[in-house]
Point group: C2
Chain length 395, copies 2
């Protein structure tokens, strides 16, 4: 298999309700990525797009075909991927394989969503369909409830008093707000920079013990990346970022995972695949964009990814070990919590951030110094899909 590089990235601002269609949002991100790659739309040989709720939010299925034609990529293969929140990461991973195999030299991958346009209430109820339709959401278990239950389980398993755990979780949100406040693409740009533990704990309860500030928003937005073979990449850019490892895993109903919870088995399998393929260890990772749909999700993820011992991630956040200058810089973009969460685009947004970090291009205050290796981590549903990818500087 050939080496595959990211040669260009693009992203809309992640935001509340937009008055543009998904085709238009994707077009903005895609054209930014194509232009940055010194390419034209006609150079793109195939399109891989994550999208989850488009049928519901604006009544457009098969959005990828209309999105392709809209940017002038006429008659290319165009696939839509659905793996809940991990849809765009799934799309990028498949795009990677079509280039690695030698079949295509240049492809575009990304995602788009208008989840905010649906309104939080409707989006939450609709998105619950991406958990198990037999045993979970008919019982009232929407995703906030899943992660509330996991919080109790985490506290119990690692014998951390719930109030103590809630304070640690608050630190996760505070760090995310801090970075998002200085990320112009973030939904909460310029907001919540002065968040405190008391403010997080005192905000309204979404699902006990999770409060508003423990939960990410639903967002509108799109992100896209251009992938190319090594030979082509070297002609297009002086700063190719190589995808050196990928992993993917899945799980069925949460009730089947009970012995393992609150750990997510799919993540441990997926990340091991990615690390092994790249030939690296967790300690080699300089920064990680991980799936912090809820603050507790960050603790669970960071442990399964091998950054901290089980039950110890909260302490790590308290000590700054999960921040820039610590052991690993987690979510310097602001993460889902502050950058935002346009469901089917989120994974591509993570890639956008990691690539720009490795290039040293992000705003002062949230740039990870001399970052060489980045990891993405995207969780779809409550373990249904897990995708990890390792990115490394190619210069």
């Amino acid at each position: 298999m050939r080496k595959v590089a990211v040669v260009g990235v693009g992203e809309t601002k992640f935001s509340g309700p937009q008055d543009r269609t998904e085709v238009e949002l994707f077009g903005e991100a895609a054209m930014e990525a194509i232009t940055e790659s010194n390419l034209k739309p006609k150079d793109i040989k195939a399109l891989y797009v994550g999208n989850v709720l488009g049928d519901f939010s604006e009544g457009q299925g098969m959005v990828q075909s209309f999105a392709a034609e809209n940017i002038g990529c006429r008659h290319v293969p165009a696939n839509r991927y659905e793996g809940a929140c991990a849809s765009a990461s799934m799309a990028v991973r498949d795009a990677f394989m079509w280039v690695a195999s030698g079949y295509y030299d240049i492809v575009l991958a990304g995602g788009v969503e208008r989840a905010a346009t649906m309104g939080t209430g409707l989006a939450t109820r609709t998105f619950a369909m991406f958990s198990d339709a037999r045993y979970e959401y008919p019982a009232g278990i929407t995703f906030p409830a899943v992660f509330a239950l996991l919080t109790h389980l985490y506290a119990d398993k690692y014998k951390i008093p719930l109030q103590k755990l809630r304070e640690q979780m608050a630190r996760v949100s505070i760090q995310s707000y801090k970075h998002g406040a200085i990320n112009p693409k973030a939904q909460f740009f310029g907001k919540n920079a002065e968040m405190s533990v008391d403010k997080v704990l005192g905000s309204f309860v979404v699902a006990t013990p999770l409060t508003l500030h423990d939960c990410c928003p639903f967002s509108d937005g799109a992100a896209a990346v251009v992938l190319a073979s090594e030979a082509v990449a070297k002609k297009l850019t002086k700063k190719p970022v190589y995808i050196t490892g990928t992993g993917q895993s899945s799980s069925g109903p949460l009730c089947n995972q009970d012995d393992f919870l609150p750990r997510i088995r799919a993540r441990e399998i997926s990340s091991k695949q990615a690390y092994d393929m790249a030939g690296i260890r967790p300690a080699d990772v300089d920064l990680c964009e991980l799936h912090d749909c809820f603050s507790i999700a960050s603790l669970i993820a960071a442990e399964s990814l091998g950054f901290f011992e089980y039950g110890k991630a909260g302490e790590a956040w308290e000590k700054g070990q999960a921040d820039i200058g610590g052991k690993v810089a987690i979510n310097p973009s602001g993460g889902l919590k502050s950058k935002g969460h346009p469901i089917g685009a989120t994974g591509a947004g993570q890639v956008y951030e990691v690539v720009r970090q490795l290039r040293g291009e992000v705003e002062p205050g949230r740039q990870v110094p001399d970052a060489k290796i980045g990891l993405t981590d995207t969780l779809g549903g409550d373990g249904g899909t897990l995708v990890n990818m390792v990115f490394q500087r190619g210069w």
Copy 2:
């Protein structure tokens, strides 16, 4: 890239409303394919599933993850593909690449749908979202209307009196009913074997000039295939069927294609890719399962695939040139018209039929004698997605 073979196939009966979930339907087809391949679920390294309306028909998104766990393929990568009716073909083509690249040796691909469960009226309205949401279905143009308009355009362009064209189209349906009537997996098994031109023309009008018998049903059903590398395939079966060519293309809104219509540009691009990759010509194809969602669609498809001259496909059907014993055997399964159309499973169902035809395993009366090369053709929406694949006997 390595050679890739189909080593096992499975399919549920295509039917009206089922009382089983998509997870259960897919499980039946998948286990049939795995068992036929002399494998166990643990041997499957990844799952690729087409599904379009599952969120609507039974409120289950990300069905592939639950389907994977249900059959004992735990923690494998599991992707859902959506390209309207071409979803499963898209899934099979991506699965092909993951094996061809050398990454996986054995994978499962297929599709599942419960479109009949939704009821024809609701399914038609819901599925209209897979045309263009800006200019098409808001104008009242559901898919029956699209193909009704194409019928008028076809008659006009090739100067065929509409009544004459309708009679030719009736011949398409009659041939499909004839084969479906003796295909036990077909929705219309045992039905409509004695259809006549008068009966087709006299059935109730769906969208002028299309009558009931010009239109395929919506169906419930699932189909799955196991793909393996050449080396593995030779150990598993004495009758490997190789995928020797694939092609895929897309189009945007129908209104952008006006100069080209009623031809579908995406099909001509896609099929050329598949033929070129396989190193064959249309005349080499012994049988073809093509996307006859409406009788007029068969004429349009057969011409774009290079079997007959433009405007002459109707005559070919009248003369038996599209039947077994003619120039190319089209839809010996009964096609979408008579075998049925479980949207997200249809492409995998076509592969099921072609593989069994090449093995010489189908029922007398619809077996194509000594078939060596088969083609699949799946249309998603009104040109949004087009996938073609060439299959050849490996013994």
